[in-house]
Amino acid sequence: MYYKSLTVAAALFLAAGWASAHHSVAAVFGNEIIELTGVITDMDWINPHTHIYLDVTQEDGSVITWELESSPTAMLRKGGLTKAKIIGDGRPVTARVQPARPETGTPYRAYTKRLTYADGHYYVLSAE
């Protein structure tokens, strides 16, 4: 697991090293991968990371908004992706993500691996 996480971290920060490098996502996000299902309500098309907002309805009916960090805009452009494409059509989306480490104090933040949409199409945004 340790080596696997190193590989993932290496891939992520190589992926994020397009211009001049920045910190590793491993400095914020853990190794565990979970799945969330919710509705994407918005996206910040900014650098050095984009941010996707996913509303996840809990069993008691309350809604928690997760902030999902993702690739920089230049990388998303490489895949022809836009903010509108990632937000989708308002139907539920399943997100495979790496949650932030507990010690960061940011319980509902995560790094995005894959988004799968209601019609089955998907975007793999970082190496799984």
Binding site: F13, A15, G17, S20, A21, H22, P48, M75, K78, A100
Partner: protein
């Protein structure tokens, strides 16, 4: 039409096909120098991302055997007395590397230009970096460097031609940037020489950083290649870091550019 004439016509037609190809391999500007104008895709530093498409689905990473990023090793060599400082800065990259706070990466860390606009008297470099859009104006008329202005992240450039290679010399840098992401600091005496040449639709960018007070030798960066593209550069989205306050490890990573 006899066979001899037919062969002649075939030769002429073949020549007509060949001529434009030759012209495309060596485009020249009106002044006879190579024309470097164009938008040049160097992958925005993400040239190792090879998107795989499957209908409406897209996989950006891990689905194709794309070109591998350069491994660690493309690094300047410091004089022994400065190695401890480099190591210390590398350890504290999260606190010290201004790029993490969306400052300009500076030269040569920014890499080759994403777009070149060439005129006889000046050449304009445009950059679509994740930290923002940048420009450099390279006078070609023989004027000296401007050193009466505030030092900058990308310095003051002047250029000239050496045969078919554009040579750009830049000085007057601030010392707020690093040469790479691993603590490779520089002084305000930094001088960067870029050598840019074109072969058809391929641009080669070579750069050497000179900082003789601290570097054991001039640092020659690995050659960078860019391809002519019709995918125009765009307005850079704002660069706003949201992670630094949440970092729990002082991790850094290699500069693949």
């Amino acid at each position: 039409m006899n066979i001899r004439v037919s062969r002649y016509l075939v030769t002429v037609v073949a020549s007509l096909w060949v001529v434009p190809t030759i012209a495309a391999e060596a485009p020249l500007a009106a002044d006879g120098h190579p024309d470097l104008s164009g938008t040049w895709d160097n992958g925005s530093g993400v040239d190792f991302v090879e998107a795989v498409f499957d209908g409406d689905s897209v996989c950006l990473r891990g689905c194709a055997a794309g070109p591998q990023p350069t491994q660690r090793g493309d690094r300047p060599t410091y004089k022994p007395e400065y190695m401890a400082k480099v190591a210390d800065l590398e350890e504290r990259q999260v606190d010290e590397d201004t790029v993490l706070r969306c400052f300009s990466p500076g030269l040569p860390r920014i890499g080759p230009p994403d777009k070149i606009v060439q005129t006889p008297n000046e050449i304009i470099f445009l950059y679509d970096d994740y930290t923002g859009n940048y420009f450099r104006v390279v006078p070609m008329d023989g004027r000296p460097h401007r050193i009466d202005v505030e030092p900058g992240f990308l310095g003051d450039a002047i250029g000239w031609w050496e045969d078919d290679t554009l040579v750009v010399e830049s000085v007057n840098f601030n010392d707020d940037t690093w040469l790479t992401d691993d603590g490779s600091f520089h002084t305000t005496d930094l001088k960067v020489i870029e050598r840019i040449s074109r072969d058809g639709d391929t641009l080669q960018w070579l750069a050497t950083a000179h900082d003789p007070e601290i570097l054991a030798e001039p640092w020659e960066l690995r050659p960078r290649i860019a391809q002519l593209t019709d995918d125009e550069i765009l307005e850079a989205p704002p660069c706003i870091d949201r992670d630094l306050d949440h970092i729990v490890e002082n991790l850094h990573h290699d500069n693949v550019r």
